[in-house]
């Protein structure tokens, strides 16, 4: 069996999809009891934190892809704060935190040091939240892309500044309620027409690899990490990581919500090489955006006191635009 063989199952968030039913070489990195477990348990993340999940998935896969030779550089944010409460650390790999806005440059510095020392075996992963990545760290990230520094940078996008108490970021979607885009006034929540797509900005740098993923697609995420680690130069992965606290979702729903983001078309999952989209994950079962919005308290004002069909329709149009733009229904218009 070759590793590229398509695995025909769909994680449904229940016990139904057992990696254990597969041949060992086809199991996910997470299914391997001998995996390195880059981020050990005992950290202080909220229950059901998508970022904790995403970081472990990504780093375990990166470790496996590089034979355990990874140095991680972290921006300030939830992931950093909950993983290293002095005098403890959850990191099983060498890990460096410097500031909120400089993780890409610090990672580039680590890569430069390794290059100067001729250590081609050790790989560098930079990571940060959406705030650290799309806002304050964007200059450093763009510099890292532009120079082609040998860093795999991962953004864990929970669509707001969670560590400081859920304020808006440049990745906060329209209408979402945050502490600085309150659910009051005529257009409650984050305004339409603001913010940015960092995957598209990354692609504009024509770096070798850009991809998006969610914590709902474990295999897809791991495969993307392996592909990125197989390349050299500046590589970028943008992972959607729902935040139960900030989004107002049940801590058991993180994976389900991430899947709904993907299946509604609001969060397109794709892959790009040298600035061109090369692959998309088609919607397996298209869902209306309402299904995604309803379980989240940050969108509660769209449903109470009255249902804002106008706003929901506008969000649906945004999802439809993504679906058309990335060809997310390329093969079949699945019924929902």
């Amino acid at each position: 069996m070759s590793a590229v063989q398509q695995v025909k199952f769909y994680q449904v968030g229940s016990h139904a999809a057992g990696n254990r039913l597969l041949a060992p070489e086809l199991r996910s990195d997470q299914a391997d009891p001998g995996r390195c477990n880059a981020l050990t348990s005992g950290h202080r993340a909220c229950q059901g934190c998508g970022e904790a999940l995403g970081a472990r998935y990504v780093l375990d896969a990166a470790q496996r892809a590089s034979g355990g030779k990874v140095i991680a550089v972290n921006a300030t944010g939830c992931l950093e704060v909950f993983s290293t409460p002095y005098p403890e650390t959850s990191w099983q790999l060498p890990w460096l935190h410097s500031l909120f806005g400089n993780a890409p440059a610090v990672a580039a510095g680590v890569a430069a040091a390794l290059r100067a020392k001729g250590r081609t075996d050790i790989r560098v992963v930079g990571q940060g939240g959406d705030g650290g990545t799309v806002d304050i760290g964007l200059g450093c990230l763009s510099g890292m892309f532009e120079r082609g520094d040998d860093v795999f940078y991962v953004c864990y996008d929970n669509e707001a500044y969670m560590n400081t108490g859920v304020q808006r970021s440049g990745a906060t979607p329209p209408t979402a309620r945050t502490a600085t885009t309150q659910a009051v006034g005529e257009d409650p929540g984050a305004p339409f027409g603001q913010g940015k797509s960092l995957p598209l900005i990354a692609m504009a740098h024509e770096i070798p690899y850009v991809a998006t993923a969610t914590v709902a697609g474990l295999r897809d995420l791991e495969a993307k990490v392996h592909r990125a680690m197989g390349l050299r130069g500046a590589r970028y992965l943008h992972v959607l990581v729902p935040c139960p606290l900030g989004w107002g979702t049940a801590s058991c729903d993180t994976v389900r919500i991430a899947r709904l983001a993907e299946q509604s078309g609001l969060f397109p999952v794709f892959e790009a090489r040298d600035g061109e989209v090369t692959d998309v994950t088609p919607l397996r079962r298209r869902v209306p955006v309402e299904d995604y919005l309803r379980p989240q308290k940050r969108y509660a004002h769209l449903f109470e006191p009255e249902v804002r069909t106008d706003v929901i329709a506008r969000l649906q149009r945004a999802a439809d635009r993504n679906i058309a733009r990335f060809g997310l229904l390329a093969h079949k218009e699945a019924s929902s």
Binding site: W95, A112, A113
Partner: protein, 413 residues
């Protein structure tokens, strides 16, 4: 090798002999010639293996140095003025993480109004950043301080700034003894990091620290700097043995024995000050000068010993602590606590204004005659500032003073 060369170039060559493995480069006057020359030295293979990285900002430059240093590479950058301020957040981080980065600062004023010429506003603003700060008196010392800075940084695990006056030193051509590679190699062993990012021995660096230990961590940062008070003279002594030159150290007293008046200063102005001291000594005036090389850590004991027996101290400040006066003098006052003597703060040479021998003669004579206030601005155009002050008193919309002053100067001509 003795050469007629530019200050920046001598520094760049000496830095190259220190074998940095990562250099982060971003241009700003008057520092540019240093990174330009280093780019040439790396590209032409004189210095290697070395990663010379052109970054997109000074914030990125210092951040890159943080990563490189934590990964175990000897790391260097250079900046000035706005560039130094642009990296401030990372500066504190580098020292907090105990990373032995060496940085040359080509001292320059800070805007607004924008001004590219020399004073010490930039580095003085970083006096509490946890970096060691060494100030060069001349280009020979500027070059010589670099191997010492790397030694110091790596022995103590602390970052070091070598401060050299912009243009006055960086762009001045002089006869400079540039060390040879073998000499530097003998003086400066390869960097052996205390704690390094290594997959074989994983550590977490940069953890979050709460109230239960933060004070202790800061105390230790202070204690480490205090250890530098011994390391700096030790290293300077070793340097003298190896290179035969007096460079570095904590302070440089000049004709301070039996001096009633002592002038304290940092950097290149010391040359002029010492000339004036010589002339006044010849005229029978009991005057001396005290150069401070290590501003951080501040050598309280050494300064106290030299100044303690004087009757008056004049501190020449190349920066202004707005709203209070002098920065260096506040530190000198700490050194002299309990000792009664006349103290004068003189703000001089801001934004590149020349400090002439004539002005200094007048200044020191006034000080000795008891005509000097506590805070003075050397060669201040009092008429000009009085006019602006009057305008400010007249109208609530006085506008930016620089523009008003320019208008006044224009209409006078």
């Amino acid at each position: 090798m003795l050469k007629q060369t530019e200050g920046s170039r001598a520094v760049a060559e000496t830095v190259a002999y220190c074998r940095p493995e990562v250099i982060a480069a971003y241009p700003i006057s008057p520092q540019t010639h240093i990174v330009e020359e280093l780019s040439r030295l790396v590209k032409s293979g004189v210095l290697g293996p070395c990663e010379y990285v052109n970054v997109e900002s000074e914030f990125a430059a210092m951040s890159m140095c943080i990563g490189a240093s934590a990964a175990g590479a000897r790391t260097y950058t250079a900046t000035a003025s706005q560039g130094l301020l642009y990296m401030v957040e990372a500066l504190y981080n580098a020292s907090g993480l105990g990373l032995p980065i060496v940085m040359t600062v080509a001292n320059r004023a800070i805007g607004a109004p924008i001004n590219i010429w020399n004073d010490h506003s930039d580095t003085m603003s970083q006096r509490d950043s946890g970096w060691i700060q060494l100030y060069a008196r001349d280009n020979q010392e500027a070059a010589d301080l670099h191997p010492q800075a790397f030694r110091l940084a790596e022995e103590l695990s602390l970052p070091v700034m070598v401060c050299m006056d912009g243009f006055v030193l960086t762009h001045a051509w002089e006869r400079i003894e540039v060390p040879e590679q073998a000499q530097v190699d003998a003086f400066l062993p390869p960097y052996e990091p205390r704690q390094v990012l290594d997959p074989d021995e994983p550590v977490s660096i940069g953890a979050m620290v709460g109230p239960e230990a933060f004070t202790e961590v800061r105390y230790l940062a202070h204690a480490k700097q205090m250890r530098a008070l011994e390391a700096i003279p030790d290293i300077a002594r070793e340097f003298r043995q190896a290179f035969g030159r007096d460079s570095g150290g904590l302070i440089h007293p000049y004709r301070c024995e039996f001096a009633d008046t002592i002038v304290v200063a940092l950097g290149s102005v010391l040359g002029t000050v010492c000339d004036v001291v010589d002339e006044m000594r010849e005229a029978g005036v009991r005057i001396g000068a005290l150069g401070i090389t290590s501003f951080r850590p501040f050598p309280l004991e050494a300064v106290r010993t030299v100044l303690g027996n004087a009757q008056r101290v004049v501190v020449l400040e190349r920066a202004l602590a707005v709203g209070i006066g002098g920065i260096v003098s506040a530190n000198v006052r700490t050194a002299l606590s309990g000792i009664r003597l006349d103290g004068h703060t003189v703000v001089a040479g801001l934004g590149g204004r020349p400090i002439t021998k004539d002005s200094l003669h007048r200044l020191f004579t006034d000080a000795i005659a008891g005509r000097l206030g506590q805070l003075e601005f050397l060669d201040l155009d009092t008429e000009l500032v009085e006019r602006e002050l009057a305008r400010m008193a007249r109208t609530r919309r006085s506008g930016p003073s620089a523009e008003n002053i320019l208008r006044d100067l224009g209409s006078n001509r």
